[in-house]
Symmetry: C2
Subunit: 366 residues, 2 copies
């Protein structure tokens, strides 16, 4: 699926809503990749103050030939709110955008989720083009149609399922990504290996130094393989009635860390990294994965420059914070755990005491 | 489909999202009708200050056996906003409602649309129970899954398609409905006859006096037939890619009247009534329907106690206001018109001058 210019293309198979994902250097400039994807109308290009100075003009040039309006929001998770959602909708309504318009999200997961929810809601749904510029967004949030904003009570509590018409993941944009954010993206890459693909996990263990050095070939390969794994799960279970929940490995723990630390203190990927260690630890204590496997998880997460322990939060507080996670059904805590490396399951049967033990032990000494 | 106790039940055929509509006296008290419809979790019962004192306790009793929280909003179209949407979501999030919860909308179209959009968005979609208490909501807005809030630029600009799990249309609640609102509901009933069913239209002409007198049998029959006609269209074209657009007969004109008059001055059904006369007039001038048919439309609308002419708005201003309607694709004005009575079509080819003539003539003398 790789062409000589380094372009890797794949497809999310969702019937008449199927869409392409293009990964590689310079794809943000490739108007040809969008030829058959966009509707005929105007485009609202949504970005943030960090990304816009770097890539807004490139994106605008790629979309040339139609009216392109821009909306540049402040950068950060703190702005992933209903209020910002209202600002995107104001821009669409005041700009008299019609049903055949397109919202293009240029930025990381916050911009993608926010602009995506606005695209889902404006006129009950208009086209969405994902132009992710962070590793996290390229391997995770831009693919699969989950959109949302946060609520003070919990992350991503308000949103919609709304698939994009295309995803252009330009690996060149990763050059400007801060190291901490880059590592946070690697957490989701590791996740795919852990839950779905032991071969990919082994590949990641071998290539982690190259990935940390942002070597173009391995980076594009890791992104394309991650997207491909995610695309398969989404095609099977778009609305998370079953298998898609596996993609939340580490997320229930992670959301609790993010919430207790105060949103914005921990990057999502960092919290997920610790969450995956917690899930692996839980799986080990349940007798599912061996001590050596647990050590591999810890070691790979650490090699990616990611934390492997939470701050010194009280285990009971963590458990309460985990209770508001969307993975809870009927008040019962359902966790994604590892049967073996490369094979995840959802379990609602983890003894409370075992969980408190894990939460107590996977902490930094205070 | 009618049982001895006056209950009429039908079904909206949408595969695994099919749902029942129950019409008749006292159905709001019939917990048995909900036995297989609701998920297992808590219920947020959303209503307004007018309806709550009359029916909230009845609804609460019907939902007994689970935790039921209530949220009572101010009454009126002016509150169908993103801000009210935020209030419903605050109640859900702060109340720690889980994915298996249900939002129950007790009231007219505003409550149904607003609570429906909140149900569509909370945790990316939770169950919605429609308990419509106005004729308009019973024959139109509670059926078919369209949810929305208004934006200052236009009505229903922000929303989602989200089907309910059941609709209970209690005809007893119509006893407390003001005459003006009751008539506004009849506009949508007439609409179904005009676009889909010449026999039903003739039935309405014969039974309009009984309907105006709110005779229980004819009222329940009119509601059930309206719901059945709408359900068929929705089952064919849930997301309005084609045929469903026919349900918007009179709405492009009507929305313009509502906007120019200032939201809240005209009831939606009143504006749609005039809009249907405008659509019929346009159809007549295009040579599609005869003068006698146009007279029948005007006469039936008038017999229902509804207006047949707009205020003295400038035709150009009306045309501009119509331009922001969602039925516009690619900047082209698409109108629902009548080929014959009982058979509607969408047309993008109405000459501008002809339209201006209609808008000029279907006005009250100032």
């Amino acid at each position: 699926m790789k062409t000589p210019d380094g372009l890797r293309s794949l497809r999310v198979g969702l019937g008449d809503r199927a869409y392409p994902i293009h990964v590689g250097p310079g794809v943000l400039s490739r108007a040809d990749l969008l030829a058959d994807c966009l509707p005929g109308g105007d485009v609202l290009l949504v970005s943030n103050e960090t990304v816009a100075p770097l890539y807004l003009e490139t994106a605008r040039a790629t979309l040339a030939g139609r009216r392109v309006e821009t909306l540049v929001l402040p950068d950060g998770e703190a702005y992933k709110t209903l209020e910002s959602f209202g600002r995107v909708l104001d821009a669409l309504a005041s700009g008299r955008f019609h049903r055949d318009c397109c919202v293009a999200a240029l930025g990381g997961g916050v911009i993608g989720d926010l602009a995506g929810f606005a695209a889902a809601s404006y006129q009950r749904g208009v086209a969405l083009l994902q132009l992710p510029t962070t590793l996290l967004a390229q391997v995770d949030s831009s693919v699969g149609g989950k959109t949302a904003v946060n609520h003070p009570v919990g992350k991503n509590l308000i949103g919609a399922f709304h698939q994009p018409v295309a995803v252009l993941a330009d690996t060149d944009t990763l050059a400007t990504l801060p190291a901490r954010e880059y590592a946070a993206g690697l957490a989701e890459v590791i996740k795919y290996g852990l839950i779905l693909d032991a071969d990919f996990l082994a590949w990641l263990e071998r290539h982690m130094p190259a990935l940390l050095a942002r070597a173009p070939g391995p980076v594009a390969e890791a992104i394309a393989r991650s997207c491909d794994l995610k695309a398969r799960v989404v095609a099977e279970d778009e609305r998370e009635h079953g298998r898609r929940a596996l993609l939340n490995l580490g997320h229930t723990f992670g959301h609790a860390i993010e919430a207790l630390a105060g949103y914005g203190e921990w990057l999502h990927g960092e919290a997920v990294a610790v969450g995956m260690v917690m899930a692996a630890e839980t799986s080990h204590r349940l007798g599912w994965i061996a001590a050596a496997d647990l050590a591999r998880v810890r070691s790979l997460v650490s090699a990616a420059g990611l934390p492997v322990a939470a701050p010194d939060f009280a285990p009971e507080a963590m458990l309460t914070a985990m209770g508001m996670d969307k993975k809870v059904i009927g008040g019962r805590l359902r966790l994604v755990l590892l049967r073996t490396l490369g094979d995840a399951v959802v379990s609602a049967d983890v003894p409370r005491e075992l969980l408190l033990g894990v939460l107590s032990d996977v902490r930094r000494a205070s």
